[in-house]
Symmetry: C2
Subunit: 201 residues, 2 copies
């Protein structure tokens, strides 16, 4: 009998919870393209974007990815997605600032990649655009935030955009719909583990 009582109380509590949650879901009825930002120092900013890419492809969407810093083309994500008929994949970086050691080159590279992005931001056939490691172009002043914001805000109404990278500037966060800060609670790298293929790249 005690168990039956316990189950009945559980059932009543969950029914009340469900009513609240259902009301919240019903209230969220707007449909539009979203601007998502994945920032912070933890692992998962780019991989969360690539997970959403898989999700969007599963729904039949057309997608594009521009990698702003990365220059290597041997990553697992590229090998996996690049031949998909509904993905356009662009590796447009030259590596990190400490790899290039050339500020003028970094700026020129960022501008070229941004021109590619603008093409997609004006194309309503693109349902999801991922600007991977894009925040660094703003952080280092390679691209002007005001111009970038204007272009993002005037994109097609149903187009989703995901921007990843550390230290997203406040001006970008202000215009975003969903912002996740990936906090580094712990990272295997700091315990002496190599960047493992399949996990880190």
């Amino acid at each position: 009998m005690q168990d039956a009582d316990r189950e009945a109380r559980h059932q009543a509590r969950m029914a009340r919870k469900k009513a609240i949650i259902d009301a919240h879901i019903a209230a969220a009825d707007e449909e539009r393209g979203l601007l998502l930002i994945n920032t912070g120092n933890g692992k998962g900013k780019s991989s969360a974007a690539f997970g959403v890419l898989a999700r969007a492809l599963g729904h039949g969407m057309n997608c594009a990815v521009i990698q702003f810093i990365k220059s290597r083309s041997d990553t697992g994500e590229e090998a996996f997605f690049r031949d998909h008929p509904r993905v356009k994949w662009h590796v447009m970086g030259d590596g990190f600032t400490w790899d290039t050691q050339n500020d003028a080159q970094d700026r020129a590279t960022a501008r070229t990649a941004w021109e590619q992005a603008v093409g997609y931001l004006r194309d309503p056939a693109i349902d999801l655009l991922i600007l991977d490691e894009f925040t660094y172009t703003l952080k280092y002043g390679w691209l002007p935030l005001e111009k970038v914001s204007r272009e993002l805000m005037s994109r097609p109404e149903m187009q989703h955009v995901i921007i990843t990278g550390r230290a997203a500037p406040e001006g970008l966060i202000e215009i975003a719909d969903t912002v996740t800060t990936m906090d580094l609670t712990r990272h295997a790298y700091h315990a002496g583990v190599k960047a493992m293929p399949g996990i880190e790249w």
Copy 2:
């Protein structure tokens, strides 16, 4: 001339930075399977796991996914991954506690899904195992943490495991290699936007 000076200083600074970073990379030389946890209240816990899944598949790995809470099979991620020859995909949940409203059923469901997980945790042919929304089985006491930890720690040496879900218990975090806390900075849902296909599911 000023520009050339500036470039030279930039180059010298970046060369020093690169030396430090290269030394750190050289010091991280251990190779082994990792236990990753994606927790917190923000968006990106499951999608980061699915992004790593794409990455691992791109490197030719064999992978398995068990969804512990989700009962729906119409998600974009499942549509995208389920037919891949190197992915085993299991939707083993009954929905959230407020959907089932039945504690005994929730416990039985969690136990069945865990048995499936144990099969993979003892199989060295599985390179990456994702236990999606698994933390809830511990949070609600459906599975004993000690038994779960023991099984995770005795898995094959090179097997990677990713656990997702809010409120990962301290005992699980202690045995993990990489832990990211996805903090909710902002979510479109709270601004009245519906859960958009391709982004949220």
